[in-house]
Amino acid sequence: MPEIRFIEADGTPHPVEAVVGQSLKQAALDHLVPGIIGDCGGCASCGTCHAYIDEKYLPLLPPADENEEMILEGVPASRTSNSRLTCQIPVTADMAGMEVQIPDTQF
């Protein structure tokens, strides 16, 4: 159960004990973290689970596929080099301590 820190746009931290194997989006939803919406349920159709991933941990993540790239191009908050859809990222044990910044808007 790695502890992942979700941080709201206003700086409010939400430390979460995530379950290995679940998606980062589901870990946020299961712990009532505001700002991660995930309306499409995790099929990378909506882009409402966008977040900024701790740079140090980026190499641990599976790379974004073409569809995720295209959805990220259209997210309403600014897109940066560490933008990802959290529904596409399975939680692994080595994510302990990772910080995930939540954008100011998902719509």
Partner: protein
Amino acid sequence: MKTVVIVGAGQAGSELAVALRQNGFSDRILLVGAERHLPYQRPPLSKAFLRGEVEQEELRTRALDTYTNAGIEVELDTTAVGIDRRTRSVALADGRTLRYDKLALTTGGSPRPLRFGSGHVAGRTLHHLDDAIALRQELQSGGTLLIIGGGFIGLETAAAATDMGIAVTLVEAQPRVLARTCPPAVSAFAEREHRDHGVDLRTGVSVRSVAQRDGALLAELSDDTVVRADLILTGVGIAPNDTLAATAGLATDDGVLVDAVARTEDPDIVAAGDCTRQRHGFLGRSVRLESVQNATDQARIAARTLCGKPTERFAAPWFWSDQYDHKIQMAGLPQTGDTEVVRGDPSSNSFSVVYLRNGIITGLHAVNRPRDFTAARQLVTARAAMTGEEAASEDLPLSELMKRHQSTAERSA
């Protein structure tokens, strides 16, 4: 200690309960659901779940612990049968009553029943997890499937069943599939894809009667042909579950009537999701929407209203469907009379249809074009100006038009 009772434990009910906590409500929350399952996501029922790619635990909107840890009491397998607004209580089928200070109705919808002329064999429907569990089991043992209705449920089920090796016939009474929701170019794409995958797809025909013979079902169609199938599934839309509200004297009109912040006419009762007909904050008109995005968004609005922070929504509605390897994504809710502009080659597997009204983009339907879809969602929400030439121009990414809109908006601000 105040009590909020939420009747209906689907995606709207689950989101509403959680959003109450996120908005600081710290008293009692009771979430009552008629099904035996924890709140789950419905969209995969006709897609990945049917194909056996995900299991039911993975469909849960949130883990059981989430409700426990948030102090949300969940009563499953429990049906509400009446509301007494004077004593503020909900009567349950098991004889108990639940007192409330505030009540939220998230009762969802039910598949519209289809009655066939003389034979009274009703088709099955696919709306609940238990429907999907049974259908999946039967499809796994093979056979032939007749689907009545070429809407999203019918087409998604046809795709999943075909992937599973089932022979599928699909009949649609309208001249084209998706006639209620999509432009002709998208309908034509869907028809082509389903036929290419081996679906026997027939439009402009309806089912006259169904008879049962030698363990098989024989459907007689309006063109006098007969289709033999082991199983019949009907997908002809859903009706809002508004009887509980209507019986309690609340105004309904094909849906529980609510304003732009999810209030019914009773100050102690809100409603959200498929069961409502709402004044939509962004669209500015009365609509009934059947979608996850509407259910969860309206549930969050209802929760804010109950917490004394009513906020109208500002974003355009959106919808999606997956069939085979294809993504159909829709932004906005175009109306009759909007101009349709095709972007890209509609005979290919990747194109969009843009809707314009008075020089403003009102919607976009994207076939395998997530890039157009995400840009359009912002453009529609921003009510951005666009010409027909711009909408059609493949050389001009829609994201560029969004940037132009933003800089124009900044200059005039």
